[in-house]
């Protein structure tokens, strides 16, 4: 019975097997005959298996060593080819891996919670707002009446000042109902989650804060930290991967009972999380919530007018724009990978043309086909591995750059890592390309052994391969048109958005936050003292032209929306007329250079005991008193009635791409103590000609003098704030432009390579033609015709694809048409220039062919 041994022998390299297989078989058969007894037979088999496996491995390694040293010699002989191939592969692998790693991190990877698919966010819904916060009674009603959820909890964001060693610090956290954190099914790193018995004095720390404050000591549980002047006992620490509601969270406090039982139906400040009951779909939960919201609207027609309720999967908690930005990036990176593969294929084919003779000769000299293929495989794999390795470096360098594309609204860490699966995919794809285009020539060469092939000479390769190369170049041109147009459209959109007037001047404005703790600043008069001291000091600093405090800065916070009631105008039923509310000190409009159109700014004299006044934006005046003088008119908003004393220009509160509600500014002192506490001014804006690094220490000193326990946070210039609004777009546009540039260069190289080859192989023909009197112009025309055909062949389908891609990205284009003629025209012109540049050298070479020498060369 020798067939199992024959199978075993297949482990050897084919060349070895061919040479010694039969002999080994004969020897084994002889030994079998000499063996008697079952035990000896078993021993013989075990020995044979061990010997074959280890010797075969060694034989393979021998061959690999030979092939590697041969590869090293051939590649170092043509370093230009080797470097280009490696770079092309690296770019393809790197770009794809980076783009897909970020996309996977944001869109595909499950959130780091238990059964994340059934976690949802519960939101209110109004005609213009798909995600509206809930009022506390709203939340309680939804929770009590719904059956779709296994659990529901609420929270609201809450910042706090922490005193300790060093300067006071501003911490970001949330007040949570005790049933909120258990919904995530995440076990605390140490300690436990807060329970109803803890009262309001407990706190759960984030992993980062625990490491920071307690240096990661487990004794932290049971110790106290002071938040906003009140001691809080640490009951637990969440694990490092827990980020909710966003990655900035540092602590979670139990929500006080009076907040949860708040009866005001018009104050929307709760957010809710729920877990779907098993078997309940998102649609069923939505339907149920709509039904309940409808009942509530009937029950409270005034407060709950037009107020719906809905749920979203927590995994989908980022905007369509983020999704589209990432998808666009992935599409572009696939284009780059495609171009990289095409280019690699093209390079290898061109090389095969040059090496055709060598391969034919070696085959003729008896190099086995298997050895030849094995060797080319080794060469291709070496190139792919080197390219892939460099690709990893490129990917790991670019993933952090792309992290600005990770939406901040997701409960995940901010920096994605290079994804190994994607890396593997891209590596395997380029590896396969390398293999396919590296080995095919060897197969062809080993088939075409013979006299004919050897005689083929300079015209080796033949038309079929030239056609394949032409097709590859056309594909490259096509992909680069798509990338050029895509990058062009998105860049134009970015420019258009960045050119949008935000309604204020961003230059030379420094902003920072000092959130006054309610424990000490509940009384308006006390806050007033603080503002007076800080602003008084800051306004007196050299170079400072104005300074003010306001509730929130535009673009940092878009909310704070209230319905407007005009005493003389009855709102149509169901009509919602919202405006955004800000409390401010005098000097805000001057600091941001928001034009004062009529009347006056709020004044120091607009105190709580004076008549309540307001400054409104132009769109507010136009909406409620069209064609009339708004000064002196009265309206109700946020629990009080006010008189308009001034009109200012509109600002883009909600960023550069969204329309904003009309704005209302009211004096910081005109609110009862402990009322509208969320609106207490905390953002300081300073217009100054002095650089930030000189100004900031002085401001710190001023704040410290006014209140030594007051931390400063969020120090940014207004320019930075406005730029951050378009940051993810900028990153995407830059990356796409980079991709397009790479594609463009590669396509140019491809055209050049193909034409150079074509000219070289038509040397003879050109020589004959020019010997027969053909003018240089005619030869130029022949080469240029070929290059124009390549360009057109790529540009035409490229335009169609680019238009389709533009349509898919339309919502990102900020009004730029997907068929924008300027962008398309530029892309086509660029491709024409590239074609010309790529054909220049081959054309020159073609007309310089001296007939005599070319013909002699044959």
């Amino acid at each position: 019975m020798s067939w199992p041994y024959r199978v075993l022998l297949r482990l050897y390299p084919a060349s070895f097997h061919r040479e010694f297989g039969r002999e080994l078989e004969a020897m084994f058969a002889l030994r079998q005959r000499q063996t008697s007894g079952a035990a000896a037979a078993v021993a013989l088999w075990i020995g044979a298996i061990w010997d074959t496996a280890s010797s075969a491995l060694a034989a393979h390694l021998d061959l690999l060593r030979q092939d590697l040293s041969y590869t090293w010699r051939t590649l170092t002989r043509s370093p230009g080819f080797a470097l280009t191939a490696i770079l092309v592969t690296a770019l393809g692998v790197g770009a794809t891996t980076a783009a897909f790693s970020v996309a996977d991190f944001v869109m595909l990877r499950p959130l780091p919670f238990k059964d994340p698919g059934s976690l949802v966010r519960v939101w209110g819904a109004k005609p213009q707002y798909s995600q509206y916060e809930l009022s506390p009674p709203n939340y309680r009603d939804l929770k009590a009446a719904s059956h779709s959820f296994a659990a529901m909890g609420a929270f609201h964001p809450l910042d706090a000042n922490m005193l300790g060693e060093g300067p006071p610090r501003r911490l970001t956290g949330a007040a949570v109902t005790t049933d909120l954190l258990p919904i995530f099914g995440v076990v605390p790193e140490i300690g436990r989650l807060p329970s109803d018995q803890d009262g309001i004095n407990a706190v759960v720390l984030s992993y980062a804060l625990w490491k920071d404050v307690f240096a990661g000591r487990t004794e932290a549980v049971g110790q106290s930290i002071v938040l906003d002047g009140a001691p809080r006992v640490v009951v637990g620490v969440m694990p490092a991967r827990f980020h909710f509601p966003s990655r900035q969270m540092q602590f979670w406090l139990p929500m006080p009972a009076d907040e949860l039982s708040d009866a005001d139906r018009t104050n929307f400040w709760f957010q809710a999380v729920a877990r779907l009951r098993p078997g309940v779909t998102l649609e069923q939960a939505r339907a149920e919530l709509s039904l309940i919201a409808g009942r509530l609207e009937q029950q409270y027609p005034k407060e709950d007018s037009k107020l719906g309720a809905t749920v979203y999967r927590m995994q989908d908690g980022f905007s369509d724009q983020s999704r589209l930005l990432l998808l666009g990036l992935c599409g572009a990176s696939l284009c780059v990978l495609l171009i990289a593969c095409v280019n690699l294929g093209n390079l290898l084919l061109a090389r095969a043309m040059i090496r055709h003779r060598e391969l034919v000769v070696r085959t003729a000299l008896g190099a086995g086909r298997e050895r030849l293929i094995r060797q080319l495989v080794t060469e291709s794999l070496v190139l792919s591995l080197a390219g892939g390795g460099l690709g990893i470096v490129i990917a790991s360098m670019s993933v952090p750059l792309l992290s600005r594309l990770v939406p901040t609204a997701l409960p995940i860490a901010g920096t994605p890592e290079v994804d190994l699966r994607v890396l593997l995919f891209a590596g395997v794809l380029t590896g396969l390309t390398g293999l396919a285009f590296g080995v095919l020539p060897a197969l062809r060469a080993s088939r075409s052994v013979g006299f004919e092939a050897l005689r083929e000479g300079a015209r080796a390769g033949g038309g079929q391969r030239a056609r394949l190369r032409a097709a590859l170049v056309i594909a490259e041109v096509m992909a680069s048109v798509v990338l050029l147009v895509g990058a062009g459209l998105l860049t134009r959109a970015l420019w258009r958005i960045q050119a949008t007037d935000p309604g204020f001047k961003t230059e030379q404005v420094l902003t920072l936050t000092t959130t006054l703790p309610l424990t000490r600043y509940q009384v308006v008069a006390v806050r007033q003292q603080y503002y007076d001291r800080v602003l008084g000091a800051v306004r007196g600093m050299p170079g400072v032209s104005s300074a003010a405090y306001i509730t929130w800065l535009p673009m940092v916070m878009g909310g704070g929306i209230w319905p407007v009631l005009i005493p003389s105008q009855a709102a149509a039923p169901g009509e919602d007329r919202p405006a955004s509310l800000r409390f401010t000190t005098p000097g805000y409009f001057q600091s941001l250079e928001i034009p004062l159109l009529r009347g006056r700014d709020v004044a120091e004299t607009d105190r709580g005991d004076q008549p309540y006044v307001a400054v409104v934006s132009a769109s507010f005046a136009k909406q409620f008193w069209p064609g009339q003088d708004p000064i002196g008119r009265r309206f109700s908003l946020a629990l009080s009635e006010r008189t308009v004393v001034g009109v200012v220009g509109d600002v883009m509160v909600r960023g550069l791409e969204r329309t904003s509600e009309p704005q209302v500014y009211v004096p910081y002192g005109q609110a009862p103590d402990s009322s509208l506490i969320g609106y207490i001014p905390k953002s300081l804006v300073v217009r100054s000609s002095v650089p930030t690094d000189r100004l900031l220490p002085q401001i710190r000193a001023a704040v410290n003098a006014a209140d030594p326990e007051q931390p400063i946070s969020d120090v940014r210039t207004l320019t930075e704030i406005v730029e951050s609004v378009t940051a993810s777009r900028s990153v995407q546009a830059v990356v796409l432009a980079g991709f397009a540039l790479i594609a463009f260069l590669l396509a140019g190289i491809g055209i050049h390579g193909l034409l150079a080859c074509a000219v070289a192989s038509r040397r003879h023909e050109f020589a004959v033609r020019s010997a027969l009197g053909a003018r240089a112009g005619a030869i130029v025309g022949m080469v240029m015709r070929q290059s124009a055909l390549l360009a057109l062949g790529g540009i035409i389908p490229g335009i169609v694809l680019a238009w389709a891609a533009g349509r898919a990205l339309q919502s990102l284009l900020a009004g730029i048409e997907p068929g924008d003629p300027l962008t398309f025209g530029s892309a086509i012109a660029l491709c024409a220039v590239m074609t010309l540049a790529g054909s220049l050298v081959p054309v020159l070479r073609a007309i310089r062919i001296a007939p005599a020498s070319a013909l002699r060369g044959e």
Partner: protein
């Protein structure tokens, strides 16, 4: 075929298996199994080459020109047509001699230091 002393010394020191194979075919053409048996006999069972080791060595020795495959075959009744017979080349013989000299030199040095027995 002519060869230079450099080509000989470039192969030294020889792997033990290679040296033993050269000894086994020094006077007689042998097939693979016969080589294994010869070595085993000569070393008193101390060195028993496995088939894999043997043929990997033979492959390399063929490439290096130490061995030849011979077309002369024994009488058909003693032969197995799957076998191949190997013969030492003049270059192989020169390499074997050089290796023997190298080892003898080593032994002499050891003896001078009292680390090896007297010559028999």
């Amino acid at each position: 075929m002519a060869y230079s002393p450099d080509e000989v010394t470039a192969l030294l020191p020889l792997p033990p298996a290679t040296f033993h194979i050269l000894l086994a075919v020094a006077h007689d053409d042998r097939h693979g199994y016969a080589i294994i048996q010869d070595i085993e006999q000569r070393t008193g069972g101390e060195l028993r080459l496995s088939a894999g080791t043997l043929y990997r060595s033979i492959q390399r020795m063929l490439e290096q020109g130490l061995l030849n495959e011979t077309t002369e075959r024994p009488a058909p009744e003693l032969d197995d047509e799957r076998r191949r017979y190997y013969r030492i080349t003049p270059f192989g013989a020169a390499v074997a001699r050089a290796e023997a000299r190298r080892m003898a030199g080593l032994v002499d040095m050891a003896r001078a230091q009292g680390l090896a027995g007297r010559r028999a």
